[in-house]
Symmetry: C2
Subunit: 362 residues, 2 copies
């Protein structure tokens, strides 16, 4: 087992990564009270809930099983967690445990942030995406019909437990979606990691445990470094949104749950790289590397054909990356160096938005 | 105009108290962006919204008018604020302004805490209760059918603007409800202020502006001192809940909106004083002083007849003041000195809960 520490002063917490962690007694050290509420979903609970519960002998343990899918990530379903907490009389010393992917983690985290104005929670992410991204950094929240993640809180977990064994049950499509975020870390921050990913993509898709563990560790390490510098996302942390402004527009247009988050980010990442190339920051060879890597990860690289440039711009205008009416995007100054900027000619953005299926051609 | 500073480091903010503040240009100095969302209710908006809006020339100003009453303080109505923010495309630099009583303030504050994971807000409290209590200290939130204020966040305002002129339109019953909280400050913290209240209660009820301004100032000052010592309510801040554990039980039993919050706190305060007397901490004369003062403020001092001791205990067990299954109450060691304790024989609590209408007799 490897342990990374996310350094946030009084809110610091460990990320533990390795095989078989779910059946080790790692949770009790991070539970302060006697009550625990495990939140999971209908897909994950049958696979891993019993194993997890074996760690929780001697606690008052209650469970909430939510339906599986991004389309249920809303206030109504967070309210089901509040219902359970109140029905079972959980008090301020309770600990919530999120057992599932990013949706379960985001909702459980927001419930923990808001229940009695804040209680503890622990993340046990069961997808690659949530292990490398959504369980690190304290962002929690739910969607609104008019925008993704528009309602939420910053709330840090007490512990993140990333068991690589659980990835063996992950559908192919979700593995690829997680790899989109892994690739992102290389693109914005670390060209050496990008090269490692190019060399190891086949192994990652074959679920080689060593390769997965390294990819998770390095991704979390990069994210932890960035979050520690900017917990509340006023500056550098925005780099983590590479591909997300375009990606959120795709998800909103298609309705949550049609495209996986990571898939939309994959297509959005190529759009960001394309715009960076149009600005002269990336060469054609750089752009081809990005495209090849995304495709080798099994990701879609082209937005839905029906999405016009106008539709993209309409949806991007309510994205959180808009400050005072100006559209700010994460672009690439070079491979391994992201930048947050509103300094680009709108015609170049239009060219990228109009490129459509051409983007996918090498 | 008097200005108090609530000292919370980077989250410090001023409370401005005086006559006619609503029509002075005091808001713009505390608004960082160009967008403002004013949240008010159907009772207050017709009286004061236009005056307030005159301060906001040059901003994008949108409004949400909620129905008036504690029964609407729920997630569904907070969601109406989110709807308006998203429909009008408010971004992270927006400022929410709460124009109304505690319900509007709590809901607006929670919406501000949760919208895009946290935006600025300003409190313009229009009731005595919210001027002396709910606009100070950063507690925000909504009710759940199973418990009051169970969903929320700590989120500090940028500014609190307490205009004493608006109290002239306040119904008698609501003025009394506000006085319950004013009396609380004397009881838990400052016997001299308690004596001042005994001497000035008639003037306060006649809405003498000088008397009101002093009562608001001293109440906010005491609350600010306590909150500054314990922002997240892990210790001394719990003193501010004098009467609230009993009071919340009354409100929950009766259904929100039947008893005013301050009325329930008034009856709850006398129950706390009664239990303190049964423990030998207050004399009969002390208890009579508390009773007389509450009655002179126009407050009910007896819980609804139909509420049995069993019903009280059932409802109090989900109150936030329960730590690890043990009921903690705010009691009075003496007049002017509150204490948070779980150290009392349960028979004494039963005696207080069984006393019923006798409590109201001098």
């Amino acid at each position: 087992m490897q342990t990374l520490s996310v350094d946030l002063g009084a809110r610091s917490y460990p990320i533990q990564i390795g095989q078989g962690l779910l059946s080790k007694q790692l949770l009790p050290a991070h539970i302060k009270g006697r009550q625990v509420m495990v939140v999971s979903n209908e897909t994950v609970a049958p696979l891993y809930l019993q194993t997890l519960l074996q760690q929780l002998d001697g606690y008052q343990v209650d469970t909430v099983i939510l339906p599986d899918g991004e389309q249920f990530k809303d206030l109504e379903h967070v309210n089901r967690i509040f219902d359970a907490l109140l029905e079972k009389r959980h008090n301020r010393t309770t600990t919530l445990i999120a057992l599932g992917g990013g949706v379960v983690g985001d909702m459980t985290g927001f419930a923990a942030a808001s229940y009695q104005r804040g209680v503890d929670f622990i993340q046990v992410p069961t997808t690659l995406l949530s292990q490398v991204d959504s369980s690190v950094g304290g962002k929690t929240g739910v969607n609104h019909p008019l925008g993704k993640n528009m309602i939420g809180a910053f709330h840090q977990p007490q512990q993140v437990l990333a068991d690589t064994d659980v990835l063996n049950s992950l559908p192919e499509r979700e593995l690829s979606a997680g790899l989109a975020e892994v690739i992102k870390y290389g693109l914005i921050y670390d060209e050496a990691f990008l090269s490692w990913l190019e060399a190891n993509m086949a192994g990652l898709r074959a679920r080689d445990p060593e390769a997965l563990a390294y990819a998770i560790y390095r991704s979390c390490e990069i994210k932890a470094e960035i979050v520690a510098q900017d917990e509340r996302e006023s500056g550098i942390r925005a780099l983590l949104n590479l591909g997300h402004t375009f990606g959120h527009a795709i998800e909103t247009d298609q309705g949550y749950g049609q495209w996986l988050h990571g898939e939309a980010v994959g297509a959005g990442t190529l759009m960001s790289a394309d715009l960076s190339a149009r600005l002269g920051w990336l060469s054609q060879a750089d752009l081809d590397r990005v495209k090849t890597l995304l495709q080798s990860a099994g990701l879609p690289v082209v937005a839905p054909e029906a999405m016009t440039p106008e539709r993209f711009k309409e949806l991007m205008a309510v994205d959180k990356k808009v400050l005072d009416g100006q559209l700010r995007l994460v672009l690439l100054k070079s491979l391994g160096q992201g930048v947050v900027t509103a300094e680009f000619p709108v015609e170049k953005l239009d060219e990228t938005l109009s490129a459509g299926a051409q983007l996918g051609q090498l």
